[in-house]
Symmetry: C2
Subunit: 164 residues, 2 copies
């Protein structure tokens, strides 16, 4: 058997989908079947997945799926703060931290593994604030809801050192 990463139980997924649906309603938007299915796939995977893989998987659930179908759903889910885009690998991942539905942006820190696309969303107000202050100090102004840090996850470190 090939190495796998943990996947959430399907009951958890259902709970989180329901939570997402409520959240959208509160925002005056709709978690339509397509959007829900895309989010469901991302939750099932539990790590970063490429758009065209989602297209393929969606075709099973929804025969008429084409790239725009998926990209539009992803755009919506990102706007709702339910999904992150991983710039380093052109992948998408479901937000792990179910954000408190406040309007203000968080600038959380994302540890993203370039090898397996695992993503750890580590909540650390201390570090986040320090970094935000540092950016501001430099005359820049943080943009986007999170900062993506490229780093090998524990599992991939083991594999890398075994291979080396």
């Amino acid at each position: 058997m090939t190495h796998t990463h943990p996947q959430p139980a399907s009951t958890d997924i259902e709970a989180r989908l329901a939570h997402a649906e409520n959240r959208c309603r509160e925002h005056g938007s709709r978690l339509t079947p397509i959007r829900r299915q895309v989010l469901g796939l991302l939750l099932k995977h539990g790590h970063g997945v490429k758009a065209y893989q989602l297209v393929d998987e969606m075709k099973s659930l929804h025969a008429s799926t084409t790239p725009p179908t998926v990209y539009r759903a992803l755009e919506f889910l990102q706007a709702e703060g339910l999904v992150h885009r991983l710039d380093m690998s052109n992948a998408f991942v479901a937000c792990s931290a179910q954000d408190d539905a406040h309007g203000h942006v968080h600038h959380g820190l994302l540890l993203a593994c370039p090898r397996c696309n695992a993503v750890a969303e580590v909540p650390d107000e201390q570090m986040s604030h320090a970094l935000a202050a540092w950016v501001h100090q430099a005359g820049y102004r943080l943009e986007g809801e999170s900062i993506e840090i490229k780093a090998l996850c524990p599992a991939c470190q083991k594999i890398a050192s075994a291979t080396a």
Copy 2:
């Protein structure tokens, strides 16, 4: 006239190209004409530039330029630590900090503006080390030579607030 960003004087560019050439020689590699021209274009722009724009510009200097020509040069320049790839915008930028030719990796912090592709490479051992320690603490291991932080540069902040 449209808004512009500062460009380094061509004398500076020549000096930095010469510096880059020495550095390559020390590493046992060669800064060939093509590689030198690509680096020169990046230095001239002074901010992130897309690969296909470089292809177009290179065609003027070197008629037989095709995408692989440029991507190979960029790959080399990245390996030499002379160029960064900006994941957030699929762009490439010349390293501003002429790195001390040590072997060890730096994990510097890059402030990259998503609007104009300006990049500030802010050297701050304090912050870099704090972040590196934090990543290690989380069980991850930094990968890549820098951390890319998406943030509006001062100029684009003004434009954004004027537009708003």
